[in-house]
Amino acid sequence: MVRATAMILTVIVLCAAPAAATELQWWSHWAIEDAKKAVLFEAKRRFEAASPGNTVTITFYEKKNMWPTLRAAFTAGSGFPDVFYYDMDVPEFMTAGWLADLSTGVRWQNIEPFGKAFWTRPGQGGKTGTWAIPVEAASDEIYYNRKMFKELGITVPATFVFTQDQFKDVVAKCAKAGYAAFATGAADREWAAHYIPNALLLDKLGADETLKLFRGEGSWKDPRVVEVFRYYKELIDLGAYAKTLSSMTLAEAHRYFHTEQKACMFPVGSWYTGRAFVPPDKGGQPKDFELGMLNNPQMKDGKGHGQKFLGVAGSLAVAAKSPHLPLAVKVADAFADVEIGNMWMARTGVQTGIKTEPAKIDSPLKWYFDEYARVNKSTKWVDLTAQQVRLLMKPGVWETYVATVNQGLPNKVIGPDEALARLEEARLKGK
């Protein structure tokens, strides 16, 4: 009897004991972006409040160092985090089966349909899944320094669009005044100098043919492509890029544009705001910096007037083999929340794939949202960004595109004809 009572008591005690606490690991990019980090920590706080006893540890990495570490950990089958920053820099993670399918377990009603659609793709063995939460969305933009434009006597048209001749004139005026036209730093990003040529190609060819060109279905010897590249080379020869292009990092390019003010324009993703709209002592733009936005320059006889690239950027994925998979999915789900979407917009000024309630967004960045809306009032969005072009290109073509368009052309090492010949050769190789 005593024995039976003891057993029952033991069972009761065991059942009543709280579940073992779990510490989940979350690896994130955005180490130097305080506004984004604030949102990340809010999502972590919400998860921990909703799952008592479980904690999340966030480790911050520079993105380019995080990918090889993740790749090695997944290949080894150990040492990977439960949740991690993810974007289209490493599409092979999906096909390798390293990402958990988030089709269920996430409140997708709080995610914009375009965001869910973006991450719903074939995974390992062709099985379709939804692989990430689209936290950040971004368009390819051309920002400019209003004060500098005024100083140089440059007037921005009411449509925010320069014709190709006007744009050349803008570049010439900047260069003549001793400024670079574009604050581009290609030292740590292989697509940094792609924004302008991509925009010119889009305007000239239109979305369909530009995407075909990138997919390898169109020729780089197409006379319209040749015209775009030759025009682009004219801009380069006028002094479009700083001589520091190849040694300047993305972070340095931001400072070059808004703090040192050595360039008139900054062609970059609209995630610019994530780095720029923080206090100046944290690398943000000075309080008195007057930021303006442009639309893509209009090429003669272009088919893509008014079009711009927009795509999902920084996202959140869960490791398929996480030992705490249900909890890890809950961490990701903490982001699928309209309040988080509102906070993201208010703090970072960057678009998001999470649904938001604009009326409830109380942000000191409202002026920026208004400016963005004004400039992009008639924009026809094309689902792609400079970072995602590699998804369409074959690896060998992408490598050549980086070598020629991010390095050779802007550094004046090669001319447009050589660049196009190399691209066409790579395309025909089909690798």
Binding site: P68, G97, L245, R390, A403, N406, Q407, V413
Partner: protein, 270 residues
């Protein structure tokens, strides 16, 4: 290593659920026939491996002889010259990225300071200057190491030999040329071979400073292998493994040949 050999004759079929498929020597055929980047990377690696010892070894020898002759502040210079080898490649890479910065880098500031501002340039932006710029960095890094080893070798020469030469009226230059250098030849040969092999495998410095650019101007075989393995987004290690195997064979062959050639010459002399 065995896995690399295995991978080099296989390819990964993602469409078949990550199955490995035997392809024989297909990868090797493709490398030899069609891969321009591999050949460019090979040329760069070979240029580096040949040029670096030609610069490193005489420089290290001169520094070692200066210290041997007890120039003023010899201990200070020995520490200063040796320090770079204690630093890791990423640290050295970042330091030299600053040195080569167009606007405020020390290289261009020095040129501007002496009135040669017209020679200032973006050193890592052109294939013509990027590779020499990187070779200079490895020279800065390893001259001190080679110097210390050579200095030890010089100190190991029996004093009688040098005293005898002095008694015979040999000048300092003649003692160096006819006594010291022949006696430290084995050390020189070994350091040269090590230098050669090290440069054939050069990876980390390039990765930090240029990632093989501009226009493959500093691409080495090692960086190309890593790019093909991890940046082509295919997860297929077959082709990069074949490049690695081929390069291993080339390095092995050249090192063996170099060792034989230098040792044979040595045998003739002694």
């Amino acid at each position: 290593m065995l896995v690399t050999f295995y991978n080099s004759v296989h390819t990964l079929r993602m469409d078949l659920g990550m199955q490995s498929e035997y392809v024989g020597l297909e990868h090797f055929r493709e490398i030899v026939r069609d891969d321009d980047v591999f050949w460019k990377a090979s040329r760069n690696s070979l240029t580096w491996a040949v040029a670096a010892p030609l610069v490193d070894m005489p420089l290290a020898l001169v520094l070692a002889l200066l210290l041997y002759r007890r120039v003023p502040f010899a201990r200070f210079f020995r520490t200063v010259w040796f320090t770079p080898v204690l630093m890791s490649y990423p640290v050295v890479g970042v330091i030299w990225l600053w040195v080569y910065n167009y606007d405020w880098g020390m290289a261009n500031l020095a040129l501007r300071a002496v009135g040669l501002g017209h020679l200032a340039q973006a050193w890592l932006a052109s294939p013509a200057t990027a590779l020499p710029a990187l070779i200079l960095v490895t020279t800065w890094m390893f001259a001190g190491f080679n110097m210390v080893v050579l200095l030890a070798a010089i100190h190991a020469i029996p004093a009688d030999y040098l005293d005898a030469a002095r008694v015979d009226g040999a000048s300092g230059w003649r003692r160096t040329w006819h006594v010291i250098i022949p006696l430290i030849r084995p050390t020189l040969v070994n350091l040269t071979i090590l230098d050669f092999i090290g440069k054939m495998k050069q990876f980390a410095l390039v990765w930090v400073m240029t990632r093989g650019g501009p226009m493959w101007g500093t691409e080495t075989v090692a960086t190309y292998v890593v790019k093909r393995a991890f940046e082509w987004k295919t997860l297929d290690l077959g082709y990069p493994s074949a490049v690695a195997v081929l390069w291993f064979v080339i390095i092995f062959g050249l090192s063996w040949g170099l060792t034989r050639a230098l040792q044979r010459r040595e045998a003739l002399e002694f």
